[in-house]
Symmetry: C2
Subunit: 335 residues, 2 copies
């Protein structure tokens, strides 16, 4: 069974391109409130689970030991844009654990913050691992290893205790078993386990509400979501969709993007977690779909997403980006 079309792009009177995918909206007890497509087969959540990967960073005691607060937790949860606040923030995290950028195993890529990227080209600067969108998560992983007197060398390998604790937290939160068959290597070299959308959505419902969790885990979840709402600019970057949504709906909507068309998040006040994946991995479609989903319950979010009016290089209107029939029906059931 193929997933249905969630997003269509028109040109003139015809649909030019389309994006299939699946969405699950689930309560903390696992009750499925709405869904479209396959929510049972495993998908790689990529960076959309950084808020869950951050749990052992707090629960190990590393956050308190190094005097970290909401800003550092937000950086640990973020796919940041590589702008100055992100780079200086991660540098400071590393310094507080007596490490430097040399310890980061994430690799390097150009900042996604366009102004920073252009400025670096202007001055002939090369991106460092600090600019990698995952450097905050890696600094948190390193801090956890330092705090627990574990080797920092190889902290990114699946068998390292840092990664094993994260795997355990993911299993606890999603209710899924994560065996070697589900293991993939992420863009930043740490393990990424494939999980069904239903499990991811359930984990985010728990993260957003604390329901069904032990008191310590529930408190950790509260700190994680409050950090993201306090510093949405550190979870992504200025003008990035994740940042815009949490800036506009703090305390109400939690949201995090992942590569290859993934979003996870929660409607905290409704006690609903959600997870979505676009089959082909297109960012334009995952952004459009998550904005359709969020604005279904928070109509003001509609204007935060990509412009549904498609125009060309001279600004002439050429078509529109819109929800497909399957997504429209799912949203009607959710409303």
């Amino acid at each position: 069974m193929r997933n249905p079309v969630l997003i269509e792009l028109t040109r003139g009177a015809l649909v030019e391109s389309l994006h299939a995918g699946a969405i699950a909206v689930v309560r903390a007890d696992g009750e499925v409130v709405a869904s479209v497509g396959d929510m049972a087969s495993p998908i790689f959540p990529r960076s959309a689970i950084k808020l869950l990967q951050a749990l052992p960073f707090l629960e190990s005691g590393a956050v308190d030991r190094f005097g970290f607060g909401a800003a550092q937790i937000a950086l640990a949860c973020g796919s940041h844009a590589g702008a100055r606040p992100h780079v200086t923030g991660v540098t400071a995290m590393l310094a507080r654990t007596a490490l430097s950028a040399a310890a980061l195993a994430c690799g390097a890529h150009e900042p996604t913050d366009a102004a920073t990227a252009r400025q670096m080209v202007r001055v002939g600067a090369s991106p460092s691992p600090l600019h990698h969108n995952c450097s905050g998560k890696h600094a948190a992983m390193l801090a956890t290893a330092v705090h627990l007197a574990e080797p920092t060398e190889g902290y990114w390998r699946p068998e390292h205790p840092v990664q094993q604790r994260i795997r355990q937290a993911l299993e606890d939160m999603t209710g899924c078993t994560l065996g070697p068959d589900a293991l993939g290597i992420d863009g930043c070299s740490v393990p990424n386990w494939a999980m069904p959308l239903a499990g991811l959505a359930r984990a985010f419902a728990r993260l957003a509400t604390g329901e069904g969790l032990a008191p310590e885990r529930a408190d950790t979840c509260r700190r994680v979501r409050e950090a993201c709402w306090a510093h949405p600019d550190l979870v992504a970057g200025q003008g990035h969709l994740v940042t815009l949504i949490m800036q506009h709906l703090p305390g109400q909507v939690l949201v995090k993007s992942g590569a290859e068309g993934v979003y996870c998040g929660a409607f905290a006040d409704q006690g609903l977690g959600f997870a979505l994946k676009i089959d082909d991995g297109a960012k334009r479609a995952s952004e459009a779909a998550v904005v359709q989903l969020i604005s279904c319950l928070h109509p003001a979010a509609q204007h935060l997403g990509p412009d549904p009016r498609l125009s060309n290089w001279r600004g002439l209107p050429v078509g529109e980006m819109r929800a497909g029939e399957a997504l429209t029906s799912m949203l009607q059931r959710l409303r």
Copy 2:
């Protein structure tokens, strides 16, 4: 009926993302030699038909009138990278018709040639319409209007004789009727008519062989394909897939990309035209699919495409990009 999966991207042991689409391989007489997916419904070919859009540029007499040769025909057929040879070439074409960049209606975007784009950022230069990948096609349209004493103002509008001649040439070559229902506005503001892949593939079989065409049209087609093979660097740019393929297989394979996952082309020596469209518009998938298709008959082309081994920001192998089952079976039938 949805199109089948043509390209899959794996991570670990699982398929992470997939791209559906359709391909038609057709002879000049319309005989379908191989196909996968829907080759009968209209798709927007976008820039993949620039070789066909160039026909009236030659047949009007504009090419000869202004002393243009293979280089200018290749620029007219190209989606160029905005590097120096492209910009100076288009500037010279405009100058020979007593026009300037101000006449171009294509809009502006950054060069796709990475070195040129970075150099422009370094010196603080903004892209002009000359950098637009379609500026050669627009210069050819303007030259045709000037030669025929038609207004250059509005040369991009569907009702302008320049565009009407192109529509007629497209109908002649594809055997399709292009009515107002099929009309879309392209990224560069000229009309783009939706056509079935079977018609596009047939047009490219005719273009590559001259079969079934009046002598004058057959001669024009010969000049167009010879120009592309003589100057593949002007049809795209250094390192671009279209350029690489025609540099390696001149006289054998004609190929042109279009936005939103389209390729058209021909195996000239086999008398076969082809056309493909990835449903979601992804370039990575259209490139992988066209290389799979071309290397089916020309195995040496295999290494020209995107690396099928997927690696992450630190260079670690994470998965592979491969043909889906439907594409593999189609290629077996073609072999």
